[in-house]
Symmetry: D3
């Protein structure tokens, strides 16, 4: 048990700790969610920061990269979480997953959650890749077969 | 058992009874759904009115305010029901839930349905609050702490 | 904002506050869940107590009775939550919902989540009612019509 | 519009019409559900009979066999509906779907709802087939290849 | 077992077989999905074609019309699959389901998946019907009663 | 693209390739599922082996350990997949995830899928850990605080 969980903390302490994690993982996407919550449910914003990031995500028992694989699986399976997939595909890239690994994780999801969920998540990821300039060209060694036979 | 459930009724009787409940609860939002259904599935419109409102919602065993709390929980958990949340956040306000109670119900939903569902529902509610002029200022005693300590 | 959210607290403080809420709401059902978690995921038990009950459920913005209506809606809609419905039907009775209101809330859920979800939740509730001796006789004025005509 | 929807009817009339449909489709499985509801939520039983069967299932716009294909798809996708799949695999056989068609429908569901949902539904169907003596031997021409090459 | 499942095939063979099925069932809608996948996850496109259509949909054990009834049920129940419903309402019309049967299948879904899912699917179908000119007039014998009594 | 995807293969070739992956990943749990499918839907068994494992899981673009993190997330979020969680918690241990990482992944899921889904998945994992002798004692340094203060 780390000292941070034993020492007394205020809500503000816990919010600050969460913001540090949120910024490292989500960058600007997370802040946009908080801003949008400010006039309707500031406490939901507080819980996302203080609890979800400061208390849960910050735990050292699983690396951020691994947390993102779990999260991509959950958000794909839930469906209707395109906004959250936008944040978490960005976060996945931020913590070290490659575009190829993310795409493969969503392909893998087709087996367990079905084709529609995998398709929706893949298109959410495509939007993020495009915004970050990761769709401009197909890298050598990708599955794209320029002879046209294996483009599938 | 009320006389209305014993006396013979026609489909038209039941539709009329449902419309009275629908109008009291949903106001214009419900009517817009019926209009949109008229040229594709009028029978679905009929069932929403006659059965969902006339036969189920109208039952006196649970107050409209309580029905809306249950409904907010269901629609949040299902996901992908932003259109229905629009109707039912309006309905919740119409039958006496306050903005603060609705926001808190959706915050509470984070515990059982997870953060993404709670966030999506809260943003659906924000849209309704904005349309009804309920976001213009932060009321005194709200969680917004202008000294900056508890804004979260 | 209450002093409890401003004053510095330790994890133990927050756990204790959560246990007080959990015991008031869930009674023994909640403790059984904690016991079952102790040797596999004590931190999940901690989060159920400290966060779900101590930080979220304890908020005064929504009465426990109202929280239970939302929770019944969520658990019914999610499906596969029979174990949680067992805990929360008990909790609903503990915080003042009547058997009749619970049954009606689950009936209401049929409109929004479909008949199978309503049926599964109703049978989960029946198990709790039976354990608490609430199924032994049909109260006068219930919908049971002993002449057999209106049993439906 | 048939006369039955124009003529005034009582709740009892509608219940009787629903029971006739329920018995034709579900046989004893449906009755068991009603019996189990009698002491906890007779109104849910009434709605299953009067509305779900008497008013919705009874509509001539879609044949019972076709309704069952839709229902198998829904129950498989929802998950956690093993009890309802038991009733509806029985119903599917009662209204003319063959064992082979049911198995294929659930296999087809793997594409859209993923392997876990397809597996759970297939095992629910297996239970019904076993109870009705439809698993005792593999019919000639089935996919079982006794030479061992195509058992998969 | 058909020869096509015994003879050795390459990935390209299987892709070609799948494209033939996809084109027959989905027409242009399916191709648009493949095009959109080409620069983000060509392998997901390959699996939709080769596996979902070439290997699963192509099986003769269930007619395309019946597969579409199952698929409509699944997509309605999953929720958040409006894009896939667009493709599959088109496909349903292509393989012989009528507009009336599709509308009725989605109405039927209200019983098992609840009103919100049925409404969302019906509006997705309405969009397809409008695009294909199937909403221009109400056919004689439809439920629209111009005297105003049964419009529901 | 590896040679195995270019060379012509028969269904039997693909089944054999899948069985090799399935055995490496799932061990006996996977075989039990296939055995249970043999008399009801051998083709579903074939697809689990040939497609899910032979064609999807076998792809080198994501390590088995990473695939399991995604799969744990999906199965937790779907709900009602206790049987599949049994197989995949075993698989996760087989491909190198530790008990602690699995428990943490399911704890993490509480943030995105809610407490009930996390609890159900954790209890499914507990069953597997018990069967494999991984619950016999609490390791030093675990969160269990024998002084009783921090058992949470």
């Amino acid at each position: 048990m780390t000292s941070s969980t034993i020492a007394p903390t205020t809500r503000d302490d816990r919010f600050e700790r969460g913001m540090a994690v949120l910024e490292a993982v989500d960058g600007r996407s997370g802040q946009r969610v908080l801003d949008a919550l400010a006039d309707v449910s500031p406490e939901l914003g507080n819980q996302v920061v203080s609890w979800a990031f400061g208390e849960m995500y910050a735990r050292p028992q699983l690396a951020p990269r691994d947390r993102q694989l779990v999260t991509l699986g959950i958000l794909t399976a839930l469906g209707g979480c395109e906004a959250q997939l936008d944040v978490h595909v960005n976060a996945s890239l931020n913590v070290g997953l490659t575009r190829e690994e993310i795409v493969e994780a969503l392909l893998h999801a087709a087996v367990y959650a079905g084709m529609p969920r995998a398709l929706n998540a893949t298109f959410a990821a495509k939007k993020v890749f495009a915004e970050r300039g990761l769709l401009t060209s197909t890298s050598p060694g990708s599955e794209i077969d320029h002879e046209g036979a294996g483009t599938r």
